[in-house]
Symmetry: C2
Subunit: 191 residues, 2 copies
Amino acid sequence: MKRLSASNLYVALTHYPVINKHGDTIASAVTNLDLHDISRVSRTYGVRAFYVVTPLQDQKVLIERIVSHWVKGVGAAYNSKRREALELIRIRDSIQEVRAHIREREGQEVKTVATCARAAGDHLSFSGLRSQLRSGVPHLLIFGTAWGLAQEVLDAADYVLEPIRGATTYNHLSVRSAAAVILDRLTATCG
Amino acid sequence: MKRLSASNLYVALTHYPVINKHGDTIASAVTNLDLHDISRVSRTYGVRAFYVVTPLQDQKVLIERIVSHWVKGVGAAYNSKRREALELIRIRDSIQEVRAHIREREGQEVKTVATCARAAGDHLSFSGLRSQLRSGVPHLLIFGTAWGLAQEVLDAADYVLEPIRGATTYNHLSVRSAAAVILDRLTATCG
């Protein structure tokens, strides 16, 4: 099966604004395994950069410590595969800053695609997004933590990707699992 | 896209025998997020049971504590979606015990399919396994922790699934990510 390179695809994992169990807008804490898993998924599928978004200073310090240990510190020699993945990480305060960084890098606006487990409103289908990616225009996939992206992020995005449907109605994949499935589906071609 | 139900599919996550960075056979420790993520993936794709394999008593106690908290304890009321996923977990000492349990349940031998990041020898392709699953015969997907399944597990399995290929040669997905991608690919039909 021929696979598409995702070289015009960026990923952002955002910790604010996201919602909690009750639908309140919160800032979530960074999870170490999110950084490792999603950077490895990003490296596997040729994603250009993996932005970790949080406005919280202590969280940024934590991410920086984890990344520098494995990219520059003792860990870099210990596990080069981990380094190659974590090297993709860029820390930013907000989605707006991520857009600005990509704009500067690409010389054009990035198309933003929010992801969401709950079905609501118009969605861009997986096949629709695959087609758009073939045009070469840069796209940014935005993933949420906690109980998902706050409505304002969904509203501000150019598109909201359709939810992942498995074999059942149950759709409560972790963000780590969702990122892996979505990136795999986006780079697949059938036949 | 029509999706196949995985109701003849079982998943096992094994902590022994697996290998470490140097290729030595070890028993690995259970990771909390593996239980949560892979049980959610299993629930999403209609997997019948998620066996967590470890011969270590302290590890079994740990798994039991985590599962019972969310399935029977305070956690069950707090998060029913987590409960529905973790309910799929069965703890067993070895792959042999998993096979015996499935044999008893299904009245026939399960076909075992080991998974591996490194390419070696004959592999069953994803499309080949999808075809086999359509026959209705029960299949057990075996995932490894640490640096992967020990050679003896690969040798004893009926099949070894081809490694996941992304858009690059990098293939060091976490077991959580690999399980999500594999189950999604196995239940997908193109078109």
